[in-house]
Subunit: 248 residues, 2 copies
């Protein structure tokens, strides 16, 4: 499995992804699921991928036209005029790649090669945008009502984001929130694993404000992981106590 | 969907279940998923059910032999000498009922009629026991390493139980922990809904120590739901802050 989150804040975008891929529990590898294209000062676009690894890698390769000679390549992500068009092109590619795999394998409709992609970024002259692209190629855009997208193993880490998210929060606090969400997921599900990739894109920055790979010996992640247990216990004990002899 | 939890403590068993069943989002009903048989002083046995409602209701009906005349009925749960045998009989019944439905409908192997059952209780002269029965009829028993079972929509409410559970906790604290776990699940997933059923079985009590149906106007649940948000925010802010300019 996978766990990726893309979050839209007033101040910009915060993105985090794990790196575990597994085919069964005895075939586990580390693969990056966060991909960034940046023209400093003009655009920064980052994808987070979940689902069948061969399919998402094929999308990334075709976006960069890696099947052509290096000097003949044209990068859709770098040449699209708007984020909307980037999402549209990624949707088309994803749909085509999944359809090819399904057909060629005679397992059409089984959903074995399914994948989803979060598309985040900003192009100069326009607002930061955040999209979720489905395997069918269609997509939705984040809004004030739904300001973050999760893909992969989304459930364990969702309650804390629902409770903790605030569009006006600092980008540092958003990173902290995602660390807690990922820690809860890692603790509950073996198929999501360290290291994690973190990227912070500030509004009108047009370059990564901050990038970091969080490994198992990352002191901040360790501190969050150990102190969150205690903080939760304190929170729990601060709640009113239940009584078997209530009068309501 | 459904969310049910059975939890084993040193002091006894704490059980909670929701009551929502849905077939699509526009066909929602309230059905009890907690069923108790009690011979005061001798045995108390409670089932929590998840999955296809017709299948789990059929299990309950057949356990009580409701297809027979009232005075010819024999209740497997009341006559089995051990909790292990109760779990075995329930497993057999569940497997048979699911197999019949799958075959008769021509959708064998599709898993449409799947169901799981948590079996909890104590018979005099023996320890309290907690089992999870799978649709195939086999089952596992709770232990010190895995002291609680969840069925249905289990993921949202799992991190807090993993962090908060302690076998030595009071039964009141266990109720509080389950309230928080259910609140997180209700907030994240429409297919789990109020009212909730709560039962507390004290070791060597052989009757329910406490039973309660939690409705939407339950003052304690409301207090937990509203103060948990604040408590989580305080817990979150008590964590060390992230900095984009770290020296590690």
């Amino acid at each position: 499995m996978t766990y990726c989150v893309g979050m839209m804040l007033d101040k910009g975008l915060v993105l985090m992804s794990d790196t575990r891929t597994n085919s069964g529990v005895d075939n586990i590898s580390v693969f990056r699921k966060m991909f960034t294209w940046n023209v400093p000062g003009e655009r920064i676009i980052t994808l987070l991928t979940a689902g069948n690894l061969a399919s998402t890698q094929a999308v990334i390769s075709q976006l960069e036209e890696r099947m052509k000679e290096p000097d003949e390549r044209d990068n859709i992500i770098l040449k699209s005029p708007t984020m909307f068009q980037v999402a549209t092109e990624i949707g088309k590619l994803l749909r085509t790649i999944i359809a090819e795999r399904q057909d060629s394998n005679g397992v059409k409709g089984r959903g074995r090669f399914t994948a989803s992609i979060i598309v985040a970024g900003q192009i100069a002259g326009m607002e930061p945008r955040l999209f979720m692209v489905y395997p069918e190629g269609n997509f939705i855009e984040a809004s004030r009502d739904t300001p973050f997208f999760q893909i992969g193993e989304t459930k364990y880490g969702r309650p804390i984001i629902i409770r903790g998210y605030d569009p006006e929060m600092s980008m540092e606090d958003a990173v902290k929130l995602l660390m807690v969400s990922f820690d809860s997921t890692l603790k509950a599900n073996l198929s999501v694993g360290l290291p994690l990739d973190l990227q912070v894109i500030e509004r009108n920055g047009f370059k990564p404000k901050h990038e970091h790979r969080i490994t198992h010996d990352d002191p901040y992640f360790q501190a969050i992981s150990s102190s969150w247990g205690d903080a939760l216990k304190n929170a729990f004990h601060s709640l009113p106590d239940y009584s078997f002899y209530r009068e309501d």
